[in-house]
Symmetry: C2
Subunit: 214 residues, 2 copies
């Protein structure tokens, strides 16, 4: 008698993620999943990055929001290809949503794709959207205790951005306490302290990002 | 032949919510469900409210977080009865969690119970925790577009607090644009512009709150 071996079957999201990962790989598109609380400054950070990318880089953006096209309009005004996904109340993006957005982007012509997830420091951490890097953007006004309170998100981060650094003194933000919180759940994750508004720290981040693209 | 009438059956969460609502009513406890993004200042706002409650008010607090007891420790230091619920990754509080917390609070001796939900501007909107008022706390550094991007949360609000008002100029926050966004989804909701840090606007909020308690 043969003992049946039950193989792990991928769930529907992971199956679709694998499909689109293959498409990204075929066209050498490097993909970032940008995750953060509402109002941490994801869009402003993406804009600051777009403005300083190495000459010749061809970026694209997928914007995820429950409603509105406010962020996509902002990106589009820069002349960058962008698609808005409205989740209609859903708390995160998933792979099927990304798949449905791709026909609206010139994928073969892109080098770098930013997926701006729904503003939520909890749910997006659990869904594969076929990104090469999970980028968690925290911001100074949220307070330095976030890694301790939202460990799941900081655990999945491949890189942590601390944005609105120009407000560190105003908010009496303890960068070392924040850094220790990140290291506690995710010891080797790089942390970039930046201000998307002033541009401080952005070139260091871009240098690191370029080193990751293979 | 009698045609069977299928009555709407309450889901498990709503059943438990009704149970604990009855318990709150029996003991005349007025309950606030405090919802906000991570770092909007819910705890600081609760503390500012506790400090200015009418003489003789007996408050209690339930703190909801994915992990840690940072907020409960802060509340406890004020000598206010508090219970910390750790959701272990869950993105919202639900009625069974509140039910499990109640034996740890002196419910019959309370007048006012603050339920500080998980920091999340999406999921908590959909779960009844037997509160009398849904209080949505937005904060200036998050930006004035939040009601447009997260309409679900602002739709369920019985009252909206705009916190960190001392930062309105620094962040070039457009209060009218924010107010119009709230009114668009929820026309008659009162809005209080406050700074939990400086205390500005807190007494107006408390006056209104007192008028709501039966």
């Amino acid at each position: 008698m043969k003992i049946p071996v039950v193989k792990e079957i991928l769930n529907a999201n992971d199956q679709v993620a694998d499909e689109i990962r293959a498409e990204f790989k075929e066209h050498s598109v490097f993909v970032l999943n940008m995750m953060a609380s509402p109002g941490a400054g994801k869009t402003t950070f993406i804009l600051a990055t777009l403005d300083r990318l190495p000459q010749g880089t061809r970026p694209g953006v997928i914007e995820g929001d429950l409603a509105s096209s406010i962020d996509a309009d902002t990106i589009s005004a820069r002349g960058v290809p962008v698609v808005q996904i409205n989740t209609g109340g859903g708390c995160h993006l998933d792979a099927p949503m990304i798949k449905s957005a791709l026909p609206h982007l010139p994928v073969p012509e892109l080098d770098l794709l930013f997926i701006e997830n729904v503003g939520n420091l909890v749910c997006p951490a659990n869904f594969d959207v076929a990104a090469d890097l999970a980028v968690v953007v925290a911001s100074v006004p949220e307070g330095h205790d976030k890694p301790y309170k939202y460990p799941g998100m900081f655990t999945v981060a491949d890189v942590v951005i601390l944005n609105k650094a120009d407000m560190i003194e105003v908010f009496e933000f303890d960068v070392d306490y924040f850094r220790r919180g990140v290291e506690m759940v995710n010891p080797d994750t790089p942390l970039f302290v930046v201000s998307a508004k002033t541009g401080a720290g952005i070139s260091e981040w871009i240098e690191w990002l370029s080193s990751q693209q293979g």
